[in-house]
């Protein structure tokens, strides 16, 4: 790849552009890996592995990586680079190049909406890691001296509640600290994206990713030196072969691969659009995936669960693994570190590495909106960054204020889970079925630095969309329907999942046997604010679609795609 931070270029449609670009292939790989590596690598993966068969979880995990993760990543890189050579940095234009139909740009608008909605709530969570890092380094975290592990866990829970302002006795949450660190985090994000691709995002990735790895190694070594920590490693890795025939284990593995690689967000396409036509994407995509797996399996698997097991004992390992990502990261880990000599330092390092994992992801999630405003609305980089900052700030206010009423959870479900699968399915169908499977495969292979084996063609064309559809169907049954109806699944009397035959267990996982829906008062109570969150997201999506329509009419976007589709 040539050095091309900013250059005048002639795209395939004969239009002279001054599109930005990556300064180096390594910088691109680190930025892409930064996009993929997030809080889930360190908190979600180890708990999921421990719950789903330990070492045996890695069999469906790696098979999913091979059949879903890496192929879908190449598909997204391919769409992005192909769109970039036609002058598009976001999916409305990219989709129109693939499918010459008036609807395509509106389907593509999802690829601007999803990352923007995602970054709105993600920035708030990221700000907690920054706040906790600063509080840890400055010795402001609560002391748990003399407390039992259970008391320590509760102390940290109360502290988190005070930080978020959810236990202030008021109907709205938020604390001064939470607002201050949110403002700082948002400012940092906006400042970096306003510096551009090479000068901002790439430079940040080159600093943050190596530091993240060094910090994770330091914390990992400290954790593994604790008495009893190997019990946690055993909990994560000891195989439970009964799980290998469990459909839920395979679905959990496929889901984890999908989400850990940040697929379906639209951000990979935008990053890849800054490549040149013959820049490699096969090797760089594989390098990105391998770095994400290094951070997830080797580093992530060696920190949180072993630390929790060392502190709480092996008997509590299951409860800890089931306690959820936030509890593990923001309650269990500070409690573990606060009981150690020099614990404040290690706690600070832990939250700093989480902050680096978070900010490299939020920068990637912000870039599609930035690119859309710059390329389609013809705004300057600084003005686009300012507008993205204002949108995120305005939209995050209700998330901060109604945190305990499910507002953030609603954003997380739609823009952080469900719509990612929908978008990934749409783009795969557009690229391999409408644009054309062979053309798409040849497009991915252009400039390859390592040969792409031919057996990936049927995987990309058939296996990837089928796997996404299965995960999407399960998500619809498991989460979407109960959520929309304010209900939850409970087991039917007399049905035992443990003793059921394989077929029944598989049906159970899809909610088609052994359980039924009952009213969920907790969700029902939050119904009004959950609908407010949904309306906020619908309004945001509508605005992006209207802007897309305006851009196409006002600036003639779309004409460049003439003749490019099938």
């Amino acid at each position: 790849m040539e050095k091309h931070e900013k250059h005048l270029d002639v795209n395939l449609d004969g239009v002279v552009t001054d599109r930005e670009g990556w300064a180096s292939q390594l910088g691109l790989v680190l930025a892409m890996a930064g996009n993929a590596v997030g809080l889930g690598n360190f908190l979600r993966f180890p708990a999921l592995a421990a719950r789903n068969g330990g070492g045996t979880f890695m069999i469906p995990y790696f098979i999913s990586l091979l059949l879903l993760g890496i192929p879908l990543m190449w598909i997204e890189w391919g769409i992005g680079r192909h769109g970039g050579k036609h002058g598009y940095s976001t999916s409305p234009g990219m989709f129109e190049v693939l499918w010459r139909n008036p609807l395509s740009k509106y389907l593509g608008a999802l690829g601007v909406f999803i990352p923007l909605a995602f970054v709105i709530f993600y920035t708030y969570i990221e700000s907690w890691t920054l706040g906790y890092a600063v509080l840890s380094f400055s010795g402001q975290m609560p002391s748990i001296a003399g407390q039992s592990p259970d008391q320590a866990f509760k102390t940290m829970g109360d502290f988190l509640g005070a930080y978020q302002g959810t236990n202030n006795g008021w109907p709205v949450s938020g604390s001064i600290l939470a607002w201050v660190f949110l403002a700082i985090t948002l400012f940092l994000n906006i400042f970096i994206i306003s510096r551009g691709i090479a000068g901002g995002i790439e430079r940040m990735a080159k600093i943050a990713m190596p530091l993240l790895i060094v910090f994770a190694i330091i914390v990992g070594i400290r954790v593994l030196s604790l008495p009893g920590a190997m019990g946690g490693i055993a909990f994560v890795w000891n195989p439970d072969f009964s799980q290998i025939t469990n459909g839920a284990t395979w679905l959990a593995a496929a889901g984890q691969i999908f989400f850990t690689l940040s697929l379906g967000t639209g951000s990979i396409e935008t990053y890849a659009s800054y490549l040149k036509e013959n820049d490699d994407i096969v090797l760089t995509g594989l390098a990105t995936s391998s770095m994400n797996e290094f951070c997830e399996v080797i580093l992530g698997g060696s920190i949180a669960i072993p630390a929790a097991t060392a502190f709480y004992g092996a008997g509590a390992a299951t409860a800890i693994a089931n306690s959820g990502t936030f509890n593990l990261g923001f309650q269990t880990m500070p409690a573990v570190f606060s009981g150690l000599p020099g614990g404040a330092l290690f706690c600070g390092i832990w939250f700093t590495l989480l902050f680096f994992a978070g900010i490299t992801s939020s920068l990637a999630l912000s870039q599609p909106a930035m690119a859309f405003l710059q390329d389609e609305m013809r705004l300057s980089r600084q003005r686009a960054a300012m507008i993205v900052g204002v949108i995120v700030f305005v939209a995050v206010v209700p998330i901060v204020m109604f945190l305990q009423h499910g507002y953030l959870d609603e954003f997380d479900f739609w823009s952080g889970e469900f719509l990612l699968l929908v978008f990934a399915l749409i783009e795969t169908i557009l690229f391999f079925w409408i644009f054309g499977g062979r053309r798409a495969f040849e497009e991915i292979k252009k400039g390859q630095q390592i040969p792409l084996p031919g057996f990936f063609y049927p995987i990309m064309k058939y296996v990837v969309p089928i796997l996404i559809s299965v995960i999407l169907f399960k998500g619809t049954i498991d989460s979407l329907i109960p959520r929309m109806l304010s209900k939850k699944w409970v087991d039917l009397p007399g049905f035992s999942k443990a003793t059921a035959a394989f077929g029944d267990r598989l049906m159970y996982e899809f909610g088609l046997a052994g359980r039924h829906l009952v009213s969920d008062p907790a969700i029902a109570e939050q119904s009004f604010l959950r609908w407010a969150a949904r309306l906020e997201m619908i309004a945001l999506a509508a605005i992006i679609m209207i802007l897309t329509s305006i851009a196409w009419k006002k600036y003639g976007r779309g004409r460049a795609a003439e003749g490019a589709g099938v």
């Binding site: 490693i233 055993a234 890795w237 290998i244 390098a287 391998s290 399996v297 299951t318």
Partner: protein, 60 residues
Amino acid sequence: MTTLLATAALAVMLQSDAAAKRAVATTEMTTGGWVFMIAAWTFILVLVYYTFSKVLRGGR
């Protein structure tokens, strides 16, 4: 792929070992646990080395 196949074969061989030790699985690393961990770590480290050596050798 080879690592995956080797892991699957070993999984079958170690099944009885894992079942017997399941009761203490949360306190001690079993042979199966070591096999899976070392196989997964090796697979990932080889992949990282292979891809990054090519990226860095490209010098771009």
